[in-house]
């Protein structure tokens, strides 16, 4: 068994026990990247020299702790662990592109808080991963650079927008990764790549240093191979940050995952998520997963989230509207390449026209229209009101149940190019991840089976805002009662 087959938790235990070093783990990941990334294209910017320097520093710290046993309790679980970071998060002195050509040469002058917290915990960063441009997409096909391939079948998408991070973890190029989730962009690629992905509650992880897409929706979270791994990363990421005015001071819960059973846990199954159009294998796998949860002692209750069908139009008005404002700063003035024009106006028009991709332009225009004079109330205003109704659906549901179980996506990984001609068909991939995003709650995606093409299927566990420990505990119980997490792609 290769070092890269270890889970993050196992690798951490071996480091503490002196059975391996951070440099060994790092070199193993770098070798994996060297061997497979020319095909998979998970990484935009590998950070090889940085990783080796960080690994040596981590090994020095570990050696110091071993010499000073009284310091041993300060050895953090993530020290020395190689991770990958989605390229929408700034890492100081490293190229950060958000998957866009408009930031092709941008070198971040500072580090995002979420990344800094991991660095403070002693991690090693092996590289910045590919994503849909400005996190807009469900397949990573909208990246301005390349299309990342699904390690389970390179003719298929890894999902999006955090496709690079998901592929990197599934292909054992890193022991975990950071992604972001605005409408499903952690959960759906985790599902398509057969790994664990946690969308944290809005306000749980600081957005300082995250290149913004939808400011009322963006959340940062971990992708990893097991629930325990994701929980470790979550604990390091979460917490209030005075630099993010939307960061909540809510205490970070203890997510120790001791209890293996779910007695006393009420699980809601929303009828609106089991509808025609869901791939048969997906529905089967998720329903079977619910039976496993029940066998573990959970009480399963059918619930209704009546405004589910409105989430898609609400999201595709609010998110583009917010994006149109957030992306106004990319104009060739202060950073990024500039298309010279005779006038300032030409410079703006040409820089943006040349450098933004089609999906980004589409969403900027949709958002601009929704906010424009004469249309604001009918589109954006109405969407915000329906958002209230969607949030209320979840508030009501969580009075009856502790966790909601449902599919992550209506399908397994589709073929590259299959949905790129029809934007609306692509948007429909998000129907089960959008409502929780609009409500700002937390959601875990974890493997629960395969379809006939041996493509992974994800189970989505939703919890109330700031209730991550609920979905992590339920997820852990399910994972430990099954074998899906032990399976990996044949590379």
């Amino acid at each position: 068994m290769s070092l890269t087959d270890l889970t993050l938790t196992e690798a951490s235990a071996r480091l503490r026990a002196g059975q391996t070093t951070s440099l060994e783990l790092t070199e193993a990941c770098l070798a994996q990247i060297e061997r497979y990334d020319s095909t998979l294209r998970a990484f935009l910017t590998p950070t090889v020299d940085l990783a080796r320097a960080q690994a040596r520093a981590a090994d020095a710290q570990i050696a110091d702790w071993k010499k000073n046993p009284s310091h041993a309790e300060r050895l953090q679980p993530l020290t020395g662990i190689p991770l990958a970071i989605k390229d929408v998060l700034c890492l100081k002195d490293t190229r950060t592109t958000a998957g866009s050509r408009i930031l092709e040469n941008f070198v971040a002058p500072y580090t995002a808080t979420a990344v800094q917290k991991l660095l403070d915990a002693g991690v090693v960063i092996v590289g910045k991963t590919n994503c849909d441009e400005f996190a807009m997409g469900s397949s990573t096909e909208n990246s301005g650079y390349c299309v990342t391939r699904n390690p389970w079948d390179p003719a298929r998408v890894p999902g999006g927008s955090s496709g690079g991070s998901a592929a990197a973890v599934a292909a054992r190029m890193a022991f975990g990764a950071l992604g972001t989730d605005t409408g499903g962009s952690i959960r759906q690629p985790a599902s398509f790549c057969g790994i664990v992905g946690l969308k944290t509650s809005y306000g749980r992880v600081s957005r300082y240093g995250l290149i913004a897409y939808g400011s009322s929706l963006d959340s940062i979270g971990p992708l990893a191979r097991t629930v325990a791994d994701a929980a470790l990363l979550f604990s390091a990421l979460a917490g209030h940050d005075p630099r993010d005015a939307t960061s909540m001071p809510t205490p970070v819960p203890d997510v120790s995952l001791a209890s293996p059973d779910l007695r006393g846990v009420r699980i809601g199954v929303p009828k609106e998520y089991f509808i025609a159009g869901v791939q048969a294998a997906v529905e089967r796998a998720v329903r079977e997963a619910v039976r496993v949860l029940e066998a573990l002692g959970a009480q399963v209750v059918e619930i209704s989230l009546p405004h589910t069908e409105y989430a898609l139009p609400v999201y595709y008005l609010i998110a583009p509207a917010e994006a149109s404002a957030n992306l106004a700063r990319f104009d060739g003035v202060r950073y990024g390449p500039r298309e010279d024009g005779e006038s300032l106006w030409d410079m703006y028009l040409d820089t943006r026209g040349e450098r933004f991709g089609a999906e980004v332009k589409r969403r900027i225009m949709l958002g601009t229209y929704a906010l424009s004079a004469g249309y604001y109330d009918a589109y954006y205003g109405q969407a915000q009101k329906v958002r209230t109704l969607i949030k209320r659906d979840f508030d009501e549901a969580f009075k009856q149940v502790d966790v909601i179980a449902c599919p992550v996506a209506p399908t397994t990984a589709f073929k590259i190019g299959e949905k790129t001609d029809d934007p609306l068909a692509m948007y429909l991939e998000d129907v089960f991840t959008l409502p929780p995003s609009l409500a700002g709650i937390c959601g875990l995606s974890l493997p629960c089976g395969f379809d006939g093409h041996r493509l992974p299927i994800g189970l989505q566990l939703l919890g109330p805002a700031f209730g991550e420990e609920k979905v992590l505990r339920a997820g852990q119980a399910y994972e430990q009662a099954t074998e899906w997490h032990k399976q990996g792609p044949n590379l």
Binding site: Y335, V386, K391
Partner: protein, 95 residues
Amino acid sequence: MPLTLAEVEHIAALARLRLSDEEKARYRDQLSAILDYMAKLKELDTSAIEPTATVLPLRTVLRPDTVTPSLTPAELLANAPEAEAEMFRVPPVLE
């Protein structure tokens, strides 16, 4: 109801996007289809519903009005396509 070419051009101007004729035609079709789908929201009676601008209970988070260290002008100009004397250089703002 489909968007007109003039509306697409107006939106593109507001968004400071230069579009080719082919792009204008394509976005007109795609945006029209998407906006038709959005009309679904009219099915709901929201007359008594408050809009949600944020899901959090936070409002107007303040900090003390004190100067704290930030990035230096040199760091901030490092990515500038054109810079001069601690300023970003651009084509004339006013003709």
